[in-house]
């Protein structure tokens, strides 16, 4: 990509590259690079360093800590972050609730929340999905009934990622049950320490605890925690989901993961050489590499037509999500296949004391990530939803 950038953009890329590698602790980047689970501390430490330098929330308005960057600069910021194995700012803070508050919130609510959100002094959780509101999000049933200067919230949210760390949760709640389902939804902020909030872990097939159910039993929420206007929540949610889709292809991350697959394959012996030279394995790998390059150039083509400051969603971002998900999943499968018989169990440590040979690198994360990444074609609008958007918005079907 470098030869497409202007001298100023190249200089910016070099600056970011240098910054990430010198300012973000090596041990955090190493854990991220080798697929180890990141602690809450790792994520908070990283985001606070980024925020100190103005790099945590560049997509926000400048007055709230954002940067006056071009779309290309934002792309470079994210790409170089991923290439340097730096954990991304917490998306719930940086690309979800932050932009919603900054765009639709009152001055008072901005002042109350935005600085703490940028600096991750508040860890946000997302309260959108419900057991019966997945792809059909607008059918959500959690209610907020106004009583004096409080809302009384009752219901259940699910798939709340890292909700076990959550200080606050931003919610879509039903405030008017008597209108069209999209028209009766509001965007409400709830302190997770409030009485009546219960977080219950969901164990996933990757053996981890990443998501949760959150229950609300007569939770009292002050009315000033409403963002924007009552019953306008669906508009804010669509805005938020549009933001979520940009960058969701995670192309830089896929490049790093693919480079890792190749490095391990090059040190894995087969009967005829290394796995990297195996004709069938290398053919699969090569096709994924070429497809990833195609996706990168699709993203660059979209960037080059995107005007700075214009936030109008490009329906082609659904192509990025659809194909980016597929490639991320393909790469996790390649990593599993590098390990062969030694990658079929979940272990916490690849080192085997007592005279045994250590398990190969990636034994800790390959299979877990393979199972974990089944999520990427489901979250942020499932692949079938993206196909629906493409067929309607682009092909006119």
């Amino acid at each position: 990509m470098d030869n497409l950038l202007s001298p100023e953009e190249l200089e910016f890329a070099e600056k970011m590259r240098e910054f990430y590698r010198t300012e973000i602790p090596e041990d955090i980047r190493f854990r991220n690079a080798t697929g180890q689970e990141l602690s809450k501390d790792d994520i908070v430490t990283t985001q606070q360093i980024l925020n100190k330098h103005g790099y945590a929330v560049p997509n926000w308005p400048v007055e709230w800590g954002g940067q006056d960057w071009t779309p290309v600069q934002r792309h470079i910021w994210l790409e170089e972050m991923q290439l340097a194995n730096v954990p991304s700012p917490l998306p719930f803070n940086a690309s979800m609730v932050g932009p919603v508050i900054a765009t639709f919130g009152s001055q008072e609510i901005k002042e109350r929340f935005l600085p703490k959100t940028a600096n991750i002094d508040i860890w946000w959780s997302q309260g959108f999905s419900e057991p019966n509101a997945g792809s059909d999000l607008a059918s959500l049933k959690t209610t907020a009934v106004k009583k004096g200067d409080h809302y009384i919230v009752n219901g259940q949210k699910t798939w709340t990622t890292l909700g076990q760390y959550g200080d606050w949760i931003f919610m879509l709640v039903r405030t008017d049950p008597d209108v069209k389902k999209q028209a009766g939804i509001s965007f409400l902020l709830i302190d997770m320490k409030s009485p009546g909030v219960t977080v219950r872990p969901i164990e996933l097939i990757d053996g981890g605890h990443e998501v949760n159910e959150v229950f609300f039993d007569n939770v009292e929420v002050p009315v000033e925690n409403l963002v924007g206007e009552e019953n306008k929540g669906w508009t804010y949610a669509k805005f938020l989901l549009g933001n979520e889709r940009t960058g969701i292809a995670r192309i830089g991350q896929s490049k790093v993961n693919l480079a890792r697959v190749k490095a391990y394959a090059a040190t894995t012996k087969t009967a005829r050489g290394t796995l990297l030279d195996d004709p069938l394995f290398s053919a699969r790998l090569t096709k994924v590499e070429a497809e990833l390059t195609a996706l990168e150039f699709t993203q660059l083509r979209m960037l080059s037509t995107q005007v700075a400051g214009s936030e109008k969603p490009d329906p082609r971002s659904s192509v990025l999500k659809l194909r980016g998900s597929q490639l991320q999943q393909d790469i996790t499968e390649l990593l599993v296949d590098v390990l062969g018989p030694q990658g079929l169990d979940f272990v916490d440590d690849a080192r085997l004391p007592g005279g045994f040979t250590d398990l190969p690198p990636a034994a800790v994360d390959a299979l877990r990530t393979y199972f974990n990444y089944r999520k990427v074609s489901i979250y942020g609008g499932a692949s079938e939803i993206q196909r629906g958007i493409i067929s309607k918005a682009i092909l006119g079907l």
Partner: protein
């Protein structure tokens, strides 16, 4: 970062598009397909008048002094209209080889005739036993003093039936040589064939045919560079054909009714069309990638570092384009149903071109293996190895 066409290129595209819209509708094209010649001399002369035949050549040889970026614009429009004239064989391959390997005198002698539309060229490279191999011809050249004679059999010679001049590869003492052989020379016999997409091709027997060496020394790098350019040109043409095919398919889904409703209301068909669209975007991206690889390395031989990068990038582009052509051509027929299989409806014609393109200069398996052997596009790297 600007990846869009510039104003001149945009204008060129719309000029070609306008011409083809008025002169190259399905009916006109069907008549050409059925004709003896298989393409239109009249259209060829119009391309010459518009300067399309001059685009990649230097001004000193009557060329427009532009580059591959403009050729790609033309090829994409040609792909949309399924143009039958021998642009690829004459301008990109034949003219490209003369420009890449010829002496100044040879370029002065040959290129102006291409630009004016008077001379058609063909590259005689592939051989019956060699599949896509171009680096080890069995065809032999016997050189003596100024001249040479060529003996051997070439096949899949695109544009052979109407070529005035062949550029022939042959084994010499100094590696692979390129030779110019007049079609009318003694000892030249052409067995014409028609590709499934209507393009004229054929086998050519050279039996001691009089020849003139094109340039000097081993031409392997020049051949590689020109085939890379031709693959990038096919990428652009394929994108034009795929886009036309998919848009036509989307229109059909909106208008064809079964069970009392447009068939495009069916989610099964919507999602297949959406997947095909995502594939088309990837193909467009790789046609762009191929264009940048060629324009970024114009003038570099295959042996140079830039030439190696260019070749690797073209392989990657071809890999994606070929797969896309395969998918979109098949899906376009399937989404149409029976009408897509008829000669009277355009979809099948697109499918034919899109079936031929991926197999013209190497195929998917060959490209995949070669790209893998070159180490792919991403360097192996892990923090713990």
């Amino acid at each position: 970062m600007d990846l869009e066409l510039n104003d001149v290129q945009r204008e060129l595209g719309s000029t070609v598009r306008r011409l083809l819209r008025t002169k190259y509708n399905a009916e006109a094209r069907d008549a050409l397909l059925a004709s003896e010649q298989g393409f239109s001399r009249d259209m060829w002369n119009q391309y010459a008048e518009l300067g399309l035949l001059s685009l990649p050549f230097a001004e000193e040889y009557d060329g427009a002094g532009m580059g591959f970026a403009e050729v790609a614009v033309v090829m994409e429009e040609f792909g949309k209209a399924l143009v039958l004239e021998p642009y690829l064989s004459t301008v990109v391959l034949g003219g490209g080889l003369v420009a890449a390997a010829g002496s100044d005198a040879q370029k002065k002698d040959i290129l102006p005739g291409i630009v004016s539309g008077e001379r058609l060229l063909a590259f005689a490279g592939y051989e019956p036993a060699g599949r896509y191999e171009l680096s080890a011809p069995a065809t032999k050249a016997a050189e003596s003093g100024e001249g040479a004679t060529i003996t051997g059999e070439k096949t899949a010679v695109l544009g052979a039936p109407d070529a005035d001049l062949f550029v022939v590869s042959a084994a010499t003492d100094s590696g692979v040589g390129l030779f110019l052989v007049e079609a009318g020379a003694g000892g030249v016999t052409v067995s014409p064939r028609v590709q499934a997409d209507g393009l004229r091709t054929g086998s050519v027997l050279f039996d001691g045919a009089q020849a003139q060496r094109l340039g000097s020394g081993d031409a392997t790098a020049a051949i590689q560079a020109v085939i890379d350019t031709a693959n990038a040109a096919l990428a652009a043409e394929a994108v034009g054909a795929m886009e036309a095919s998919l848009m036509m398919t989307a229109d059909y889904l909106k208008t064809r009714e079964q069970f009392g409703a447009p068939i495009g209301r069916n989610q099964a068909l919507q999602h297949r069309a959406a997947d095909a669209y995502a594939t088309l975007e990837g193909a467009k991206s790789m046609a762009l990638y191929a264009k940048l690889a060629i324009t970024g390395a114009e003038g570099d031989g295959a042996a140079s570092e830039a030439g190696k990068d260019r070749h690797r990038d073209i392989l990657a582009a071809k890999l994606v384009i070929d797969q896309a052509a395969h998918e979109i051509s098949q899906e376009s027929i399937q989404l149409h149903g029976g009408i897509g299989m008829t000669m009277e409806y355009p979809i099948g014609h697109y499918a034919k071109r899109l079936t031929v393109i991926p197999r013209t200069f190497d195929d998917q398996d060959g490209v995949t293996q070669e790209l893998a052997a070159l180490g792919g596009l991403i360097e192996p790297s892990a923090m713990d190895v």
